[in-house]
Structures are given as C-alpha cells and as structure tokens.
C-alpha cells in the first residue's frame, strides 16, 4: 500500500462522509414518517428531486443561492406535506400495505413527471461562486460546497432533535408513535400530529434536496434512485430511528465513495444493495433500531 493510495482512500472517505450527511437528512424524513405513522413514503425520492428543482429555479431565476432558499423550500414542503397527509394519505393509515403503496406510487408518478413536464429532461446544475473553493486540512482537501451542505444538514438534524425532545408538539408526536391508543386516551389530536409529522418529514427531504443540488446536478430520472437509496439508508440505520438514519447516511455515503474508488463506478450501488440484503436478514431492525420496531 502506497501512501498515495492511502491518501486517495482518506480523501474518498472524507468526501463520502460529507455527502453522507445530506443522504442522512434525506433519509431522516423517511424515517420520521415511517416511525410515527408506519407509512412507507414511496414518493420520497420524487420529493427530493422536486426540492432540488425548486432550489435550482430559485438560483437560476432569482439568483438566490440554495442555502438562502432552503428555509423557504423547507417551509413550503412542510405545508405541502401537511396538506398531502390531511387530504390524501390520512384515510389510508390503517389500510393494507399494497393500497398505501399504490397511493404513494401515484403521488410519486405525478411529482416526477410534473417535474419532467415543467423542467424538461435535461440535467440542471447550480454553479455557485464557491464551486471551486476548498478547505485544506493537512494533506486532505475538502470541497467547500460539500462542507457547507454537510454542516447545514447537521444543523437541520440538530434542530429536528431539539424539536422532538424539547417542544410540546415534538413530544406529543413521539408519544403518538410509541402508543397510538394511549395518545388518543390522553386527548392528543393524533390526526393533526400525523399531518404535522408528514410535514416535518417532507421539510427534511425538501431541505436535503436544496443541499443536494449544490453537489449533484438534477434530472427527473434520479427520483426512483433516491427513493431506493433512502430505503437502503433507513433500513441499514434502523427504520424509525433518527440517529440511525444519520448513521446509515454516513455509512452509505462512505461505502459509495470507497466502492467508486476501488471498483467500477457502476458497481457501487450493487454494494449498497448487498449491504441492504445482509442487514435485512441479520438485523432487520437496523443498526440502531429497537427490536420491537418491526
């Protein structure tokens, strides 16, 4: 092993960790929604792509950088998620899984193809002024955009943690997730809490989209890939666990970057799916999930 190789490896790991933070934020949205409502959001990647497009549109039409438009996008996604849950998903909460799947598949189809109809099939890029800046720590070089995106993702995750542990609404949502009947008995408005949760989950993925566009160009066809990626991350980390989603994001970010370095790039997601199979079989509750979460 030469020191050149070790440096390249360290570089790939660093890059993977930074991208992984954004992955983690995306997966956090999926995990929150599932953890509370037991609904699998099959439209997650599609929502991500819509978030990326909104940040792109804000940048190219109004010259607002994604980090500035992010709070607005998150707010908009919160409202959309809230209404979506209230209007469409709410009646399906206790329906069989295949019906929930079909409903979210329909929503996913509408979102991805809505994006295609409006923005077209070409890939869209956000070219920031800081595009080529970097931070150097010893021999390692960190892309500035990646560092900013990762720090923002971490900050949002921290805010979310504060929301769930410090606010009344956040605690009430956790109570409803732990014990649905109990929450009803003590008089919580579970329907409103569910809508709120879907809003929070949507805001996470919208924010993740606004960050991701600074790293990766967007096309409508990325949507299905992101949905699968979010599934892999939450299963590996533990479906319904918040720290698990972040850890899973980092793990998948690093494994993709390292596999991209060592193997052909086309094989890197094979590695992720292989990891998904192993975790599903050996530890279906995920690395940090609870046993009864199944």
């Amino acid at each position: 092993m030469t020191s050149d190789f070790l440096l390249a490896l360290a570089q790939a790991i660093a890059k993977g960790l930074l991208t992984g933070m954004v992955y983690g934020l995306m997966a956090l949205g999926l995990s929150v929604i599932f953890g509370v409502m037991r609904v699998v959001n099959f439209a997650h990647g599609e929502m991500m792509v819509v978030g990326m497009y909104l940040a792109w549109a804000a940048f190219s039409y109004a010259e607002v950088t994604p980090l500035i438009s992010l709070p607005l996008i998150a707010l908009l996604f919160f409202a959309l998620g809230y209404l979506l849950q209230r209007g469409l998903i709410s009646p399906f909460i206790n329906r069989p899984e295949h019906q929930q799947f079909l409903l979210l598949l329909a929503i996913a189809t509408l979102l991805a193809n809505g994006a295609l109809a409006i923005a077209g099939p070409d890939s869209r890029v956000v070219q920031l002024d800081s595009q080529f800046d970097s931070y150097e720590v010893g021999p390692l070089v960190f892309d500035a955009v990646r560092v900013h995106a990762a720090v923002a993702a971490l900050a949002i995750a921290a805010l979310l943690w504060l929301f769930f542990t410090r606010t009344r609404t956040g605690k009430a949502i956790r109570a409803a997730a732990d014990n649905h009947m109990g929450a009803l008995v003590v008089g919580l408005d579970v329907r409103r809490l569910y809508a709120f949760t879907f809003g929070v989950g949507a805001a996470c993925v919208g924010a993740a989209g606004a960050l991701m566009i600074t790293i990766v160009p967007v096309t409508p066809f990325l949507a299905a890939e992101y949905t699968l990626l979010a599934f892999i991350i939450v299963i590996v980390g533990g479906l319904g666990s918040m720290t698990g989603a972040l850890l899973g994001g980092l793990l998948i970010g690093v494994s993709e970057a390292v596999a991209g370095l060592l193997l052909q790039p086309s094989l890197k997601s094979m590695f992720s799916f292989g990891l998904l199979i192993v975790v599903l079989l050996l530890r279906p509750q995920g690395l940090l999930g609870r046993k009864d979460a199944r």
Binding site: V40, L88, R95, E97, H98, Q99, F101, L102, L103, L105, A106, I107, A108, T109, L110, A112, N113, G114, A115, L116, A117, G120, P121, P220, A224, L228, F231, I232, I235, Q264, S266, L267, S269, M270, F273, G274, L276, I277, L280, L281, L282, P284, R294
Partner: protein, 330 residues
C-alpha cells in the same frame, strides 16, 4: 373438469365460453393495432395472475418480480443467442433459474421472518442487485443489452420466430392456462392453506398448516410462471436490457394489473390489464397531441390516484357485483 367448474353458475360458464371464443377469433376480427393492444392486455393479465398467486393468495408482497421475468428472459434469450437453443428448451432453463432465485429470496425472507414492507424491500434489493450484476456481465450483453435477430415474414414455431399472430396465440394459451391453474390452485388444499396464511399466519401455524412450505410453494410457483412471461417477452421484443428487464419500474408494472383489478380474485388481473392498457393507449394518443414531456405519466398517475381513492379493493369486485357474477369470496 367437474371440480374445475363446480359452483360456477351456468350463466357465467356461457359468458366465459363466449369470451374465450372471441379471444380465439380476435386476430381475424382485429387490425394490427388492435391485436398489438390485446397482446399487451394478455401479457399483463398473465404476469399479473402469476404475481397474484404470491400476494393475492398467499399474502406475500413482492415488489421485485422483475427478477424472475428478467432471469427467465435472459436465460432463454442467452441460450438462443449463444448456442441456438430454441425457447421451448430454453424455457426449462428459464423456469429453473427463476425457481432457484425465488427459492433463495423466499427461504431467506421467510426463514428470517421478514414480513410486509421488510419482505417487499428484500425482493426489491435482490432484483436491483441482479440488475447491476447483469449491467456488468459480458455474456448477457452488459448494459448495452442483448439483441435477437429480427426475421421478417418467417414462421418458425420451434424457435418462436414469427409475427404478432404467433405471439398472440402463445400468450393467449399462457393466459388461459394460468387462469385455469389459479382456479385449480385456489380450490385445492394448498389454496386453502394460502388463504389461511394470508388472513392470519400465526393462527394457520397453530392449527397445523405447514406455513413455510406453503409460502415457499407460492413464491416458486409464482416465480416459475413469471419466468415464462419473461421468455415470451424477450422473444416478442427481440431485445433485453438490464434496466428494463430487472428495473423497479418493471416490478411495479407487474403488480399494477392485479392491484387495480382486484387482489386475490381470478378475474382481477385480466380486468386490471384491460383498464391499465386501455388507459395507457388513450393517454399515449392524448400526449402525442399535447406534446408535453411526461404528460402521459401524469394522466396515468392521476388515474391511479382516482382508482385507489374510490375503488381501493379493485375494479373487478365492484364490476362483478354490478354484473351479478361475483366470485366466491376468497
């Protein structure tokens, strides 16, 4: 034969006979376009029926059925392409490959007692894993795809080379055969066991149903039938790509006819295939006229939304009630 038709009202038998006669006569009655649409309907009815065995009868949600269709298609097409072995022999290899794959997915999933969403994710993971594998496998053509030679104006039944009429009759026989098989299975002891497992697996286990063996039979039978559809599909279109053969969109496509038509019913996949293919054709025309990218899929998504909102149990149970030909609840 008598067991097959036991409990079916004579009126329904007459209707089925008329329907079958119309389907047999269809190539003479329809033009080229009409026949191509009907071919699609029968294909989706067949493959939906195959998926329905696993989900509709035994209650195991698979979102990775493209794995079996893709393996089947690649096995038969690869044997024909490389060694000139015709699809009638190739289908044996195709079924064997799919049964092995289904056996592995099923055994691992059931043994480690994954249920519902977790099992569905496992099936997706295996299909995607295989897709990427085929992307990088030279023998199967890699991501550039595998192409069968297109021969015009030949009728070579031994190698399944010919025009739409040949493929129409093959898929018609498959669809009718699968329909009859499903009826037989549902009426058999195995079928009863499946329904018991679907409704409550723990209770079924408690009263002595061999749950694991029944689930394994469901997944392997379903995989075998799906592989045959994959072979037909590969030879009909003359090309195979990992993305279209194993991709998640193909798996979803397979599930739609039975879900839209009515899960667990015999006629559901057929009705669902008519609804979906019909909608697809109308929306294609509409989008040709509108010239907006993605508009076809938007209409499609809206239609799915309307159906799942207002007919969550599927179109067929509702339609059957209207026609007075309800299937016995299964």
């Amino acid at each position: 034969m008598s067991r097959l038709t036991a409990g079916v009202p004579p009126r329904v038998l007459v209707m089925l006979a008329v329907l079958l006669a119309l389907l047999v006569a269809a190539p003479a009655l329809l033009g080229g376009y009409g026949l191509s649409v009907l071919i699609l309907v029968l294909y989706f009815a067949y493959v939906g029926q195959a998926w329905n065995i696993m989900m509709g009868f035994a209650g195991q949600l698979s979102l990775g059925h493209a794995l079996y269709a893709g393996l089947g298609g690649y096995a038969a097409a690869g044997l024909y392409f490389h060694y000139g072995i015709g699809p009638w022999a190739g289908v044996v290899a195709a079924v064997a490959a799919a049964v092995v794959a289904g056996g592995i997915v099923g055994y691992l999933g059931f043994r480690f007692s994954l249920a519902g969403v977790y099992f569905a994710l496992l099936t997706i993971a295996f299909a995607e894993f295989t897709r990427i594998g085929f992307d990088n496998w030279e023998w199967a053509g890699g991501s550039g795809g595998l192409f069968l030679k297109v021969e015009r104006n030949v009728l070579d039944i031994a190698n399944l080379r010919g025009g739409p009429v040949l493929f129409y009759y093959v898929i018609l026989i498959l669809a009718v055969g699968c329909f009859v098989l499903c009826r037989v299975l549902l009426e058999s002891k195995l079928g009863r066991y499946w329904l018991a497992i679907r409704e409550d697996a723990e209770a079924a286990q408690a009263v002595g149903v061999p749950v694991l063996r029944c689930k394994m039979l469901a997944v392997t039978i379903s995989a075998a039938l799906t592989a045959v559809a994959g072979v037909w599909n590969g030879f009909y279109y003359n090309n195979l790509f990992p993305e279209t053969a194993f991709g998640i969109s193909r798996s979803i496509e397979i599930t739609l006819s039975p879900i839209i038509g009515g899960l667990g019913t015999l006629f559901g996949p057929f009705v669902g295939a008519i609804v979906l293919t019909g909608m697809g054709e109308i929306f294609t025309d509409l989008s040709d006229w509108l010239h907006i990218a993605g508009i076809k899929q938007i209409f499609y998504g809206l239609a799915l939304l309307v159906i799942v909102m207002y007919r969550p149990a599927g179109v067929w149970p509702w339609l059957a009630r209207r026609l007075g030909v309800e299937e016995r609840r299964s």
